[in-house]
């Protein structure tokens, strides 16, 4: 049962406090038990004025998922979208749906939201039926007004039926994703808001400066902390000279435990000065923690794997290779890539009466609550996490270092502490997407058919950091409270629906020499492995098309259409539809690559790549200009055909895909973690370049495909859209560079120096 206090929260009274500037007023006495997700009242509150608030356990990282949640829930509830709002990711107010990640907002978590809203509609219609003494079948409802169909003068609003009162309905289902009431979902054809594009509600306050972000939280008595990181990976702290900072105005304390150091001062700029000025003696590890980044590919190829997956087979690849007309082999490489969020890690923790409120942009706020409870050995219901907007996360806050640090320091000092990382700290020490070294072998028969593919993926991912784990988060490592057993990590394989009769996928995880207290910690980064493995595989497929003397799109379509089976999401059929849609939108003319090399400094070309993520398909074309004198690559045009099933908000989806494409473009052209044999050396926007305005394509075309063989089916699912389109672009750009220049570059990023060296090597 929900308590009286919970019900007050659900009326929105406390929510007003959280979304306004006066955050301190939101701090009320705990404990903060979990919201009972089985109660309909935990999800939906309807007020007398016929407005509704939805409470969901998700966070919005800027893709407009909050707006989409309002759309699907108001649709099932049959209430006017404009009369709704949504509260997300506050651990003691919204039911635990795990926060965000894995492109699951609509694909997974949208379903219980819809079922809960449908159940609320059923209950309201039942109340109206009692009120009017008319069977439910003789009632109609629109925009939160129930009307007796035969006598429209008899009507009542949802607000009049239940405003200020509870539903008192218990839903069934063991897990939150299984949650359901008695009501069926509407047929897709009966949805009114779904498929329309209301503007995102979070944009006006982001544009006029009125939004309060997690970085903005202030409470009385709050102080500022900054970390002092080890100067080299794996360095051990020998001693601190506190007198080097104790004279700084506003200085409060140096906190040290193991190799973790923070300085705390009254004012932010004082803490920054103290962190810079603190004299500390460190001892470097005897062995080098890692090879320099320039040597990483060869290191990975030579390394003994920490684990290897059981290879997956189709047919008999070895026999097919032995009898092949033509064989090919290529090595591909994608380096470590950081999250490098535009704003560094931050959080504010406020301890009051032995309890803790953490204000954070943690995409998985529930996980942060649970992890901090374990880390500080506090009961979970003494802690709550208030999710607020923050800089783009894409996995960074799923291991929310600053959230743990703020909580740790706040309990240590017993006063509110705000901690924020500095730029060099964030760029060097955030979690990294794993580097991949991939060896691809292919065999063609005499007719140019790809009869065998042997695809080997090795990821440097040993001791991959988990989601907000109390014993793997960085402060747990530095304070010596980490676990002893490293995580196994993983290597993924590429995803496509090609019919290749003989195929082997192999996976291996390899490790760097240093796995703890290192800036090269791997964690989840936007589609954790997808851009890497798709670069390897889709570059390779392009090379096989070249070897076969085939057009790259025709070569792929032939393999897709040669398949006979399909899965229950029609992934193969929808892949074909996307490949064709992209080629048509681009105006793809059938020919082999490379095109004849032109005169002049600027060479142009086009490249194709395709993949899927779960059930979402993305087929992409990049058109490039390569300056053969400077090596500079400009991707002038991108086309993406995208099928994520039922589209909730077409404009929001287009923008999400548009940004995902440019995100991958940044990885294709610029991004790489640089390090020497003792520390990361890419530490700011100079040493770690990222996409800029001048790199932006002239034209980006996004085609929303519904390639379902029964496109009008009433139960068309809504699949995820946050990450799938990130996968193919690296390969599409590399394939376009080959088309333009005739030179195949098998490592990203395609920075000018690398491209120029490859062009020069080819002509030498």
């Amino acid at each position: 049962m929900t308590s009286r206090r919970d019900f007050l929260k659900n009326t929105g009274l406390l929510v007003v406090g959280i979304s306004s500037a006066s955050l301190a007023s939101a701090q009320d006495a705990g404990p903060y038990p979990d919201i009972d997700f089985h109660q309909l009242d935990s999800w939906i509150v309807i007020r007398e004025d016929n407005t509704a608030t939805f409470y969901v356990g998700k966070t919005d990282l800027g893709q407009g998922t909050g707006t989409a949640f309002r759309q699907i829930m108001s649709d099932e509830l049959d209430i006017a979208y404009d009369n709704t709002d949504v509260v997300m990711g506050v651990t003691d107010i919204t039911p635990d749906q795990g926060g965000s990640g894995g492109s699951d907002a609509l694909q997974t978590d949208g379903w219980p939201m819809r079922r809960v809203a449908a159940e609320a509609r059923r209950v309201l219609l039942s109340l109206a039926s009692d009120r009017f003494n008319v069977p439910v079948e003789q009632l109609s409802v629109s925009d939160g007004v129930v009307t007796v169909t035969a006598n429209p003068s008899r009507s009542i609003t949802y607000g009049e039926l239940i405003g200020g009162k509870r539903f008192n309905v218990t839903l069934t289902g063991d897990r939150v994703n299984d949650l359901t009431g008695q009501a069926p979902l509407k047929a897709v054809q009966d949805l009114k808001m779904t498929g329309t594009s209301p503007q995102r509600f979070d944009i006006p306050p982001k544009v006029d400066g009125s939004l309060k972000w997690a970085v903005d939280v202030k409470v009385p008595g709050m102080v500022h902390a900054r970390n002092v990181k080890p100067p080299t990976a794996g360095a051990q702290l020998v001693s601190i000279d506190e007198s080097s900072v104790s004279g700084i105005p506003g200085f409060i304390q140096v906190v040290r435990e193991g190799n973790y150091i923070a300085v705390v001062c009254e004012r932010e700029e004082q803490a920054i000065q103290a962190a810079r000025q603190l004299k500390a003696e460190w001892k470097k590890p005897e062995a080098s923690p890692f090879p320099p980044s320039d040597d990483l590919h060869s290191f990975m190829r030579a390394a003994e794997p920490t684990s290897s997956g059981q290879p997956s087979f189709e047919g008999d690849p070895d026999a097919a290779f032995a009898g092949a007309a033509k064989r090919f082999e290529g090595d591909y490489f994608v380096p470590f890539v950081g999250h490098t969020a535009i704003g560094p890690a931050h959080a504010m923790a406020d301890p009051t009466d032995g309890q803790l409120t953490i204000y954070s942009n943690d995409m998985k706020s529930y996980g942060l609550r649970n992890g901090v409870a374990q880390f500080l050995n506090m009961p979970a219901d003494k802690i709550r996490v208030v999710w607020m907007d923050g800089p783009q996360a894409y996995g960074r806050t799923a291991a929310d270092d600053a959230g743990f640090e703020a909580a740790y320091l706040a309990t240590k000092l017993n006063r509110p502490v705000r901690v924020q990382w500095m730029r060099d700290e964030e760029t060097a020490w955030d979690t990294k997407g794993p580097a991949y070294a991939m060896r691809m072998r292919g065999a063609l028969d005499a007719d140019g058919n790809l009869i065998a593919a042997d695809q080997d993926f090795r990821a440097i991912d040993y001791n991959h950091v988990g989601y907000n784990e109390h014993d793997s988060v960085l402060i747990a490592q530095l304070t010596g409270r980490r676990r002893t057993t490293p995580a196994a990590g993983r290597a993924s394989v590429s995803t496509d629906s090609y019919a290749i009769p003989n195929r082997r996928f192999s996976t291996h995880v390899v490790s760097l020499p240093l796995i703890w207290e290192t800036p090269l910690r791997t964690g989840n980064l936007r589609d954790p492995d997808g851009p890497q493995v798709t670069f390897g595989s889709e570059s390779f497929i392009d090379e096989m098309a070249y070897q076969a003397g085939a057009d790259p799109v025709a070569f792929r379509l032939k393999m897709l259409e040669a398949g006979t089976g399909d899965d229950d999401g029609f992934r193969r059929t929808r892949s074909i539809a996307c490949v064709k849609a992209a080629a048509e939108a681009y105006g793809w003319d059938t020919r082999t690559s490379p095109k004849p090399i032109a005169d002049g400094d600027i060479l142009t070309g086009r490249g194709f790549a395709y993949s899927y993520r779960s059930q979402t398909i993305a087929a992409e074309i990049a058109e490039v200009e390569v300056n053969r004198r400077t090596g500079k690559v400009w991707v002038k045009r991108i086309v993406c055909a995208h099928d994520c099933g039922l589209v909730v908000n077409p404009v929001g989806l287009r923008h999400t895909v548009e940004c995902a494409l440019q995100y991958s473009l940044s990885r294709a052209l610029h991004e790489e973690v640089a390090f020497n044999s003792e520390k990361v050396t890419s530490v700011d926007w100079g040493s770690h370049p990222s996409l800029r305005h001048s790199d932006t394509p002239e034209k980006i075309d996004i085609i929303l495909v519904n390639g379902d063989p029964n496109p009008d089916r009433p139960d068309l699912p809504h699949y995820g859209a946050g990450e799938a389109s990130c996968k193919p672009l690296l390969a599409a750009v590399g394939n376009a560079i080959f088309d333009a220049t005739g030179v195949r570059i098998r490592s990203v990023p395609f920075r000018p120096a690398r491209v120029l060296a490859a062009l020069n090597a080819a002509t030498a």
């Binding site: 944009i203 544009v207 006029d208 400066g209 939004l211 990222s690 800029r692 305005h693």
Partner: protein, 162 residues
């Protein structure tokens, strides 16, 4: 510490701070203005941008004492008489932000770009905005919004001149 007088969004504030303190921390922590944000502290990304004397200035590397008495405008001060600036309106119409963290710098840099060049070409937009970074990669949409704002501002000027 010393007393410094600041003119921010048409209001006068007197703060008692170390004179070399970057303006960003005074705006955020003493004046409670959250438009300018910390991104790099190095003047590389633009998230901390404010307007001073018709220029887009990076407040994270601007000593507070160096702008005493000068008219400073932050994102919060861009609207006039409750009306959003045409640049802000274009940002909403084009649905520009994703996370939105950098958009303070994008909007204010665009504001200066358009003030100096009311009808910029694509190349001029790319060049003028090049030092303002976005990690959600809203660049394509920002550029569309700048063109939209240029059109609305030109239309408004025609109305005034008609």
């Amino acid at each position: 510490m010393s007393e410094i007088t600041l003119q921010v969004n048409n209001e006068t504030h007197v703060v008692d701070v170390e004179p070399s303190t970057p303006l960003l921390y005074i705006l955020r922590n003493d004046l409670d203005l959250s438009g300018p944000r910390f991104g790099c502290g190095l003047g590389q990304c633009g998230a901390c941008t404010v307007l001073i004397g018709g220029r887009a200035v990076r407040s994270c590397i601007t000593p507070t004492s160096s702008v005493a008495g000068q008219a400073i405008t932050t994102l919060e001060g861009l609207s006039q008489n409750g009306q959003l600036d045409p640049v802000q309106q274009a940002w909403i119409d084009e649905q520009v932000p994703q996370c939105g963290f950098c958009q303070n710098g994008q909007i204010l840099t665009a504001k200066v770009l358009l003030a100096n060049n009311p009808n910029p070409t694509d190349a001029e937009i790319r060049q003028g905005m090049d030092g303002t970074l976005c990690r959600c990669m809203t660049y394509y949409r920002i550029q569309a919004a700048i063109k939209r704002a240029a059109r609305t501002m030109a239309a408004a000027n025609e109305e005034v001149n008609a």
